[in-house]
Symmetry: C2
Amino acid sequence: MTKRKLETCFSPALYEAEGHTNSIVVIIDILRASSAICTAFANGAVSIIPVPEVAEARDYKSKGYLVAAERNGFVLDFADFGNSPFNFTKEKVSGKTIVFSTTNGTGIIKLASSAFMTVIGSFLNIGALTKWLIKQDKDVLLLCAGWKKRFNIEDTVCAGAIADILMRSNRYTTNCDSTSASIDLWSLASPDLPGYIEKAAQRTRLRDKNLDDCIKFCLTPDFTDKIPVMKNGVLVADI
Amino acid sequence: MTKRKLETCFSPALYEAEGHTNSIVVIIDILRASSAICTAFANGAVSIIPVPEVAEARDYKSKGYLVAAERNGFVLDFADFGNSPFNFTKEKVSGKTIVFSTTNGTGIIKLASSAFMTVIGSFLNIGALTKWLIKQDKDVLLLCAGWKKRFNIEDTVCAGAIADILMRSNRYTTNCDSTSASIDLWSLASPDLPGYIEKAAQRTRLRDKNLDDCIKFCLTPDFTDKIPVMKNGVLVADI
């Protein structure tokens, strides 16, 4: 069986769309957008409409949609809630369509729209996601959201954890320095993941805004087996 | 004493010039441009004129300059030699001005031209460079050349080695995930640096072109105490 190519991209600013039209792109923004999206589907959300612009999110709200929207960690005034995974409870989201707009995450989903397929990854769905990826038998690009287009530790370590599982399956090949580095950083982080994430700049940013209560949860492996997949501009759960 | 800010940038595509007008930018492109430049000054070169465009390099050649120019590892037909450090021997470069144009390195020097100062870093001058940086008492940005704007292992590990020394001096502070990650990757690489660099994609690229003979040399610490500094568009040795 031909091995599939595995690559990692540390920032949307480094994403080369033309190289991935035949790849599955896994978007990783674990603090907090991709963790929140996985939690929403775990708790029964039907679909999520990602919108990059605030004005668009506001428009959806006026049409009666449930809207999760924040900028720089702060909930926008018209929104129902922000992007802490703890907001996406069964009571609030089960059976619902949610409009979702965050600082980083949703713009990246649009960026990757020319890929063969776009899915959402986090520690929360890592086991199911990696099994699902292997089953698809396609090239994979792990796309880290980073922070304001910069490299960040937490998404890189999650990419490394995913890459580590994929490479161990013996179904992928990589000649990508970002993939090697992320696996190495994961090897350093994995013995004490919360301790390692302490040094992430985003950890400090969230703490300064009292938004760090969900970090431990976001580092939990296998909370759900849902794979959020982009179909016709909307995220739905593949499983 | 106020601590100075230390940051690291993994790719020219992530460089934010406006944030570094008051910083010393250290350009790191160890396989092979920044190693070659350090070697040239160690062997008595008077100055190096970096030119990003092939046409400009050709023009200099027609004016009688010594020209080092390559693209993708191959020496350009009109050039005296390419950018292997082994070309920059005392016999060839002592007392000379060299025009230098490479795939990655020289374009980045232009990119960083709005910084307070631009210098060239590599393992070959790491001890002298870090002492010199501490003495300047300025914010520092370590700018990795990467490969075709992508992240690469070898420049990141060298940035980590430099950052590790600077942070241990207790004169710098960092809240930059790239710096933390590069120091961690250096900690993994340092026990066997040539072994670690084996996995770098550029290692494979150079081997495929039989250009890998200089890699071990490029990983040698403290071959020279010269600090190539950009002054009025030309590199000269500060020490």
